[in-house]
């Protein structure tokens, strides 16, 4: 089963960190991806640029409208994600609890909705 671990944190807090601490965090994050890869849990991971770089769009009646910024203004912003493979929620929580970002912000663990399953005859 796939879970998307969404890392939320306050960008302002992150931007205010001393460079040495931010560097250590990035090293920890990359090394944790490697750990997850070796244990067979890793599917994908990326860090995101600031919400200042975000553009939100809506397509209605063939017309696309754009707004500057993220979908919602929140106290903590989406800063990155790790897509993992886990046996169940307990294993996913275990893996997510060691994401370095969890020490600074919050990690939302969302099960992936496998749309392909909708067209399958077999229950898994």
């Amino acid at each position: 089963m796939k879970y998307l671990c969404l890392v939320y944190l306050e960008e302002r807090m992150r931007d205010a960190l001393p460079k040495a601490e931010l560097d250590a965090w990035i090293r920890d994050a990359l090394s944790y991806h490697e750990t997850l890869r070796k244990s067979g849990h890793f599917l994908a991971a990326q860090a995101l640029q600031s919400v200042h770089a975000a553009t939100t769009l809506r397509a209605r009646g063939g017309k696309v409208s754009l707004t500057d910024g993220p979908f919602a203004e929140t106290k903590e912003q989406l800063a990155g994600f790790i897509l993992i493979e886990a046996r169940d929620l307990n294993e996913a929580i275990h893996a997510a609890s060691r994401i370095p970002g969890a020490r600074y912000g919050s990690v939302e663990v969302r099960p992936i909705w496998e749309l392909n399953d909708l067209y399958s005859n077999e229950r898994d």
Binding site: L89, P111, E122, R123
Partner: protein, 425 residues
């Protein structure tokens, strides 16, 4: 089949079998459900299978007799029905085996029995109390799935509307399924953290059985028994002080079961109880557990409440109760777990130590704050103290307020008796 189905009840009338099926349902349905959830991996599917299994029992047991091991029969029957249903849903109708409609093969019963059924119940309770579920949903789901309460009963116990409760349960089950919360007892490293929510839920279940929140019967023995059994299992699995304290608390309350009501179901309060009816084995076990929990020095609210209950249990007569010690324990409890109900109980203990006027002043202050203005025990305690102080008009008003607030029949009759006695004087 013949190895599994006993013939000892052949010849019983349909009505007798119906009664027997009802009895088996009361005793076994939750255990059967827990095992079906493990085997089928889905709460809703397991519940459906449980009901199909009992329907099959009602059809077949009058003809073939009641099986020697009804639980094994029901698990196998439920599993067959579920597999059958899955096949049909998967449009494999053409492959349906007519044998799958009939009663289960003995092999299946043996296979599932090799796995401990007790473990299934523990898996179920840890799954229902999973911290990824909202706390209210943990309680509702445990009462529904582990204890078999109806949604209406849970709603009444928690002063919520039945549709709200039903929605909570549906959402919790959906989360278990969609997020894949495993049907597991947590590994040792995670156990202490997971235990707190389980203890809370177990104690609520015990209270539901010890003093049902409404209806004609004061106690629902099975529920309290289930809670104590779950408590024992938890202590065995993880002898943490608070798990031990909770078990002690439940045993000490349970020890007074025979003394707390007349054979007609009339309520008898602690000071008026016939202490020779108290269960000495449960008291001895409860007191020993309290001491064990206290010596750990990592105890909490459950252990403290158990210690208070143990002081009562050790008094040979109501007049011999060590009230200063009880007030002292309530002081510690209030610091560990502040709540208006604990304050009310402390006020009642102060009334015993220092006289009714001292207790009444505390209760009036509590009621003035408004926290307990809809809690019938606050008004009946107030009524009792007013009565002892000779304030009969005030006592009468407080008993009537308490009567308005309780739905439970024995409590109502008790309050009505007190009110009648008051008016006779």
């Amino acid at each position: 089949m013949s190895g599994e189905i006993g013939r000892e009840t052949a010849g019983e009338s349909g009505g007798d079998v119906r009664q027997k099926v009802d009895a088996v349902y009361r005793e076994e349905s939750r255990r059967v459900l827990a095992t079906l959830i493990r085997l089928l991996g889905d709460f809703d599917l397991a519940e459906e299978a449980l009901h199909d299994a009992f329907r099959a029992a009602l059809e077949q047991w009058p003809r073939v007799g009641i099986p020697a091991n009804p639980r094994a029969w029901l698990v196998s029957a439920g599993r067959f029905k579920a597999i059958d249903a899955i096949r049909r849903r998967a449009r494999f109708d053409a492959l349906d085996d007519p044998d799958a409609q009939a009663a289960p093969a003995p092999d299946d019963a043996e296979a599932w029995e090799r796995e401990s059924v007790e473990d299934d119940r523990l898996r179920l309770i840890f799954t229902c109390c999973h911290p990824a579920l909202p706390p209210e949903a943990q309680v509702a789901l445990t009462l529904r799935e582990v204890c078999g309460l109806t949604t209406e009963e849970i709603a009444r116990a928690f002063l919520k509307g039945a549709p709200t409760l039903a929605q909570r349960i549906v959402r919790a089950k959906a989360k278990i399924r969609e997020a894949r919360i495993p049907f597991q007892v947590p590994p040792p490293a995670d156990l202490p953290g997971r235990l707190d929510s389980v203890l809370h839920v177990v104690y609520l279940v015990f209270n539901e059985g010890y003093s049902a929140s409404s209806g004609a019967s004061l106690t629902r023995h099975d529920l309290s028994g289930e809670a104590i059994r779950l408590g024992r299992l938890l202590v065995e699995l993880l002898p943490e002080p608070e798990a031990i304290g909770l078990l002690a608390l439940m045993l000490l309350h349970e020890s007074r079961r025979a003394a707390r009501a007349t054979p007609q179901g009339e309520l008898i309060l602690l000071p008026d109880q016939d202490r020779s009816l108290w269960d000495k084995d449960k008291i001895a076990e409860g007191c020993a557990l309290v001491e064990k929990a206290l010596t750990s020095r990592r105890f909490g609210p459950y252990t403290l409440q158990a210690a208070i209950s143990a002081v009562h249990a050790e008094a040979p007569a109501a007049e011999a109760t060590d009230w200063p010690q009880i007030v002292g324990l309530y002081d510690v409890l209030l610091r560990a777990d502040p709540s208006p109900v604990v304050e009310l109980n402390r006020a009642a203990a102060v009334a015993m130590r220092d006289g009714p006027a001292a207790g009444l002043a505390l209760i009036d202050a509590l009621l003035e704050r408004g926290d307990l203005s809809d809690y019938y025990l606050a008004h009946s305690a107030r009524a009792d103290l007013c009565r002892r102080l000779g304030k009969n008009a005030e006592a009468g008003a407080a008993y009537r307020r308490a009567l308005e607030l309780t739905l439970q029949e024995p409590e109502r009759r008790f309050l009505e008796r007190r009110l009648a006695e008051l008016q006779a004087n």
